[in-house]
Symmetry: C2
Subunit: 340 residues, 2 copies
């Protein structure tokens, strides 16, 4: 057994993240990370007739770019794992139909990208696959009308609300000897602290992020100082502050190395309120920014912790609180075994 | 690498399906398989205030029954993999919150159960887990109002329509030496032959079932005669006929050993039209009927092929056709390696 604790696997033969691709919409391309994304869609409809089809288009395009970068054909890929925020994960399912790779559809909301990384890493490390593609996407306009209100309604957004990222990130996890590598994964247990406001998801998700990060430290024996960067998925400004506070109370001082993909992707002037969110948020920030920093050795060991709010409009209408999850992945340029 | 073809893995150390649990609603308990189910809810609301909460209740109950049967605590289970048909797989996600097991949410529509079996088998065989629970559920009334029309509308159902099973099935896949075992898995590639009618899903899904079954035969070298039973997920009467016809044209005569979970769960007199469907359909037929026949050696080698229609109400309204998938799992009492 490769488990080193209730929630953590340490890979004896760490799989490689051998390449990534990222595509974002116009607003994301005006943010601080603009230089890191591979492609920008200046028209957020991608020339399609609906926002759902636009999201499918960016999902498909990210994978096509990835295959081209790696000089791989779809037939070289053993499995495609992915998901998105739309009902029945249609962006991903329709993309799977076009690319014709054996397909596992996933849904852990905005933690779907790291859910896919974890399962893909097990498939490669367990010698069930040589190359696995993982992708996740979201689109501001398709998410707004499904989860909140159609844009045409012009509903005012609360200051706690986050802005769903328009973008898609895709990666190849493979058995190549090529850094960086996935060395540990810590799988989330769903947390629900009773938050019911669908426009305050950073607050809802923070305990899930904290639970997973602490489980990771406990299972592995790592400490904050062992990481160059610990970056959550899409807690936004409010959830980030809560998480740092909760971690500090539990004795983990992460102040110098902790941030959040949703915080990083937009700047203060972009008027997103609590910054970015969405299944595509952590996917593009990883595939663009984090991966390139790892490749050029500006970062050497990262804990990547996408967070997901597992609500639906139906559960919100029925008065339920928001169950949340976070899955953590350790990515290292030079794998060193944990002390767990 | 344990792949023996584009879509198939052969497990060198086949994982055990060490136990199952099934729960169904009142209509399913009037069908031909009634004696095989562990529990019947005579009230399809389960005493809850909504059909969605009722579905969550049966999903949770199946897992509780399973843990009791196996004398296991939730803390003995390494991972919970599951999904359902509701938007954002809320039945499963809310169950995951209650049972507090590291969670991977899945969505491949009515093929979710075998998607989970495949990934769970890889986790166990790859020594990433000792015990994994897989579950899938559906509920007639929650599905009707989400995918079609609320029951209160009294809309007449087409004769090609199928009846979503109210039920949940859950299994433990483990590293125990206890038959039956999962010996091979063949993962589906999404197929779309242009069917657009959301009330004729058997027709839409048949090509996906056939593609996966033929890929399985080609990858493994098995022939129909090697199986005691080949059973698809929820093609219903129409999809079953189409599949047998397509297989026959490709040279595979399965006439004596082929059926479908949706066909078996209801009888002609129950007025379901094209019989059963739903993510819970194959889950309860497997967890109830098939598993018990395997345990008492009436069946010794089964190819189980749940099928999924990856549409959403949004894609139907936008005029899209229905992408479909099928995942096949070989379950054997006495593992014999394929010739592939």
């Amino acid at each position: 057994m490769h488990k080193i604790g209730r929630q953590t696997i340490r890979f004896p033969n760490p799989p490689s993240i051998s390449n990534t691709a990222s595509i974002v919409g116009p607003k994301e391309a005006e943010g601080p990370l603009k230089i890191y994304f591979d492609k920008v869609e200046t028209d957020d409809t991608c020339g399609e007739t609906s926002y759902e089809k636009a999201e499918e288009c960016i999902c498909y395009t990210a994978i096509q770019m990835l295959l081209q970068k790696e000089k791989l054909q779809a037939t070289d890929i053993d499995y495609y794992l992915g998901g998105d925020l739309l009902n029945q994960i249609i962006s991903t399912s329709f993309t799977a139909q076009k690319i014709a790779i054996p397909f596992f559809g996933l849904y852990n909301a905005c933690a779907t990208f790291s859910e896919g990384m974890q399962l893909a890493a097990c498939l490669v490390s367990g010698q069930f696959a040589k190359n696995v593609i993982v992708s996740s996407s979201s689109h501001f306009s398709s998410a707004e009308r499904q989860y909140r209100s159609p844009l045409e309604s012009g509903v005012q957004r609360k200051m706690t609300a986050q802005w769903t990222v328009t973008g898609s990130g895709a990666i190849v996890i493979s058995d190549q000897q090529k850094s960086p590598y996935i060395t540990h994964i810590t799988t989330g247990i769903v947390q629900d602290y009773g938050v019911k406001e669908a426009d305050n998801m950073g607050t809802a998700m923070a305990p899930a992020a904290v639970e997973t990060i602490i489980a990771h430290f406990n299972d592995t024996g790592f400490q904050p100082k062992d990481y160059d960067l610990i970056i959550t998925g899409d807690l936004g400004t409010i959830g980030k502050e809560i998480s740092m506070d909760l971690l500090s109370r539990e004795g983990f001082d992460v102040s110098n190395i902790f941030t959040d993909c949703g915080v990083e992707i937009f700047n203060e002037e972009q008027d997103t309120h609590a910054r970015g969110s969405g299944a595509g948020c952590s996917a593009v920030v990883f595939s663009g920014y984090i991966y390139k920093k790892l490749r050029n050795k500006e970062l050497n060991r990262v804990l990547f912790v996408p967070t997901g709010a597992l609500l639906s409009p139906t559960t919100t209408l029925q008065g339920d609180s928001i169950p949340c999850i976070a899955h953590a992945v350790t990515i290292e340029n030079e794998p060193q075994l944990g002390r767990g």
